[in-house]
């Protein structure tokens, strides 16, 4: 693959004495949706959180190997942690709105980095909420607490909040698992619209969802990448026995 957005080489990760990620090598293409599937506890979420270094916040984590974004090392570097995280935002399993108003949730990322003047915030927030298809629903109550929104709305708010800091990469950890079918559909649609401009890496448990939106698929098992390829190939012609078993649902 020429010019991968994220390049992972020989990544190993231990938490205390447990070997969570084993020799991961991956090249994730730019401006596509790459979906990570695999049984629970196989290291999908850990891999995702290693990419924007959230694993730094856990105690007892040791990693080796390298991860680069646009050719710049992110794993073995002391500086620029906040920049790395702004570049690769995370959408978590359940929406976690910050304890503030709807407006301030979206403006948070802009305010903390001190990049925006107050007067420039409002049009930017409106633009972001429109991008997340939430504007029409919240435009009359921007100052209400974010917790007053429905779960589906909160997840779209989290998306708008993440987009505010101009990331290149959206890391999504089962972003629809807590949502009703309609809200899930809204998020999937958004991802497909956004995939032209953003590199999206999504963990999911739902095979049908992966079939619907994936451009590339990674199959993980017990901390290893078993198979990686374009969605078409992956689903129509899986190479590895374990992948075949997982896809046909006879996995144990």
């Amino acid at each position: 693959m020429n010019n991968p957005k994220i390049k992972i080489q020989g990544l190993d990760l231990h938490i205390h004495k447990q070997h969570i990620l084993k020799g991961i090598n991956l090249e994730i293409p730019a401006n596509k949706i790459t979906v990570i599937i695999g049984p629970s506890g196989c290291g999908k979420t850990t891999l995702l959180k290693t990419i924007n270094r959230l694993t730094d916040e856990y105690s007892g984590v040791k990693h080796s190997g390298s991860i680069t974004i646009d050719g710049i090392e992110v794993l073995n570097t002391r500086n620029g942690l906040t920049e790395i995280r702004q570049k690769a935002g995370l959408l978590s399993q359940r929406p976690y709105p910050l304890p503030m108003s709807i407006f301030n949730n979206v403006a948070y990322g802009l305010k903390i980095s001190g990049r925006k003047r107050k007067s420039a915030l409002r049009p930017r927030v409106e633009h972001l909420l429109r991008m997340a298809s939430l504007w029409e629903e919240v435009k009359d109550r921007l100052n209400d607490p974010a917790a007053s929104l429905s779960i589906g709305q909160q997840q779209r708010l989290c998306l708008a909040r993440g987009l505010a800091v101009n990331p290149d990469i959206i890391l999504a950890d089962e972003p629809t698992s807590a949502l009703d079918p309609l809200s899930s559909q809204a998020i999937e649609q958004k991802f497909q619209e956004l995939s032209g401009q953003y590199t999206i890496v999504m963990v999911t448990h739902i095979l049908r969802q992966a079939r619907r939106i994936a451009d590339y698929v990674i199959f993980m098992y017990l901390g290893e990448v078993i198979e990686f390829g374009s969605a078409e190939e992956f689903f129509s012609n899986p190479k590895h026995e374990k992948t075949k078993a997982y896809l046909s649902g006879v996995f144990n």
Binding site: S92, I112, C158
Partner: protein
């Protein structure tokens, strides 16, 4: 109708719980009513505003102005909370957000023991350590002379006393902030400190406010330790280097002693009633502010 043993037990356990709740509510009302009835004779002699806002305390001539005691109590409580609240908040943030988890496990029993120490021990410690410290070090530094039995000493002892109590609540509150919420903020490029300040503390604010509110209630009502170091002089204190005479100390020192003076026991009951009302008042304020703040977190 036939009852099986199972159903009878079920019924009994439900009523038993109702009885428990009823007892708590009745006891609460009972204390308030008894205090009021016992205190009421004073109201025939003096107006409520005279009692609360006059500093004329001459029981022998039937004058029961309690301002000196009320001001002393407020002063001491204010000092105690002003010192302990920020200390507790910072300690709780450090223990829950920065320190190794093992340190918290190590500290927890220490804090529990400190919270459970009898207050008379704090009083003795205050006399041995705080009183000389105030008279020899702090007061001279401000150009004052005192024997050390002052409002400030009482405030300091009380601060030390309520720190473990408040710290325990704040640790619980801060610990309950979900990791994913912190990660959401970090993922947006916030630094760790920004995340603590804008997300963790903000999310926990109702809990922090209630911890402080409960600390105030506890400080206001604390009797023995304060009585031992406050000096107990009936005068409205002008500064922290003067002795004070807080309400609980007044009741504890005099009840059962000066009962030959007419109306004296009523006046003491009134002091108790004032304490009772103030503690309820602070609790209500803490709770209503929690309800209002919770909307935003």
């Amino acid at each position: 109708m036939r009852f099986s043993k199972r159903k009878i037990l079920d019924l009994l356990s439900a009523y038993w719980m109702y009885a428990g709740i009823a007892l708590v509510v009745i006891l609460f009302g009972f204390i308030g009513v008894v205090l009021f009835i016992k205190a009421s004779p004073v109201f025939y002699e003096q107006s409520v505003s005279d009692i609360l806002f006059s500093d004329d305390w001459k029981p022998l001539s039937g004058k029961f102005g309690m301002l000196a005691f009320i001001i002393s109590s407020l002063y001491i409580t204010l000092i105690a909370v002003a010192i302990s609240a920020p200390v507790c908040l910072l300690a709780a943030i450090f223990l829950t957000q920065y320190a190794d988890r093992r340190l918290l496990t190590l500290m927890q029993p220490v804090i529990d023991i400190l919270a459970g120490l009898p207050s008379v021990i704090y009083g003795v410690w205050g006399i041995i350590v705080i009183v000389p410290f105030v008279s020899d070090v702090i007061a001279p530094a401000f150009g004052r002379e005192t024997n050390g039995y002052t409002i400030l000493s009482a405030g300091l002892v009380l601060a030390v006393m309520i720190i473990p109590f408040m710290l325990n609540i704040m640790i619980e509150v801060l610990r309950s902030v979900p990791t994913d919420l912190k990660e959401a903020s970090l993922s947006l490029g916030a630094t760790y400190w920004q995340t603590i300040k804008y997300v963790v503390v903000k999310k926990s604010f109702p809990g922090i406010a209630s911890a402080i509110g409960l600390g105030v209630s506890r400080a206001f009502g604390e009797t023995i330790a304060v009585l031992m170091v406050a000096g107990n002089v009936t005068r409205v204190p002008e500064n922290v280097f003067q002795p004070g005479y807080p309400l609980p100390a007044l009741i504890a020192n005099n009840y059962g002693e000066m009962m030959s003076i007419p109306l004296y026991d009523s006046a003491l009951m009134l002091a108790a009633l004032v304490l009772f009302v103030v503690v309820i008042f602070f609790n209500l304020i803490a709770r209503s502010s929690i309800i209002r703040l919770e909307k935003y977190s």
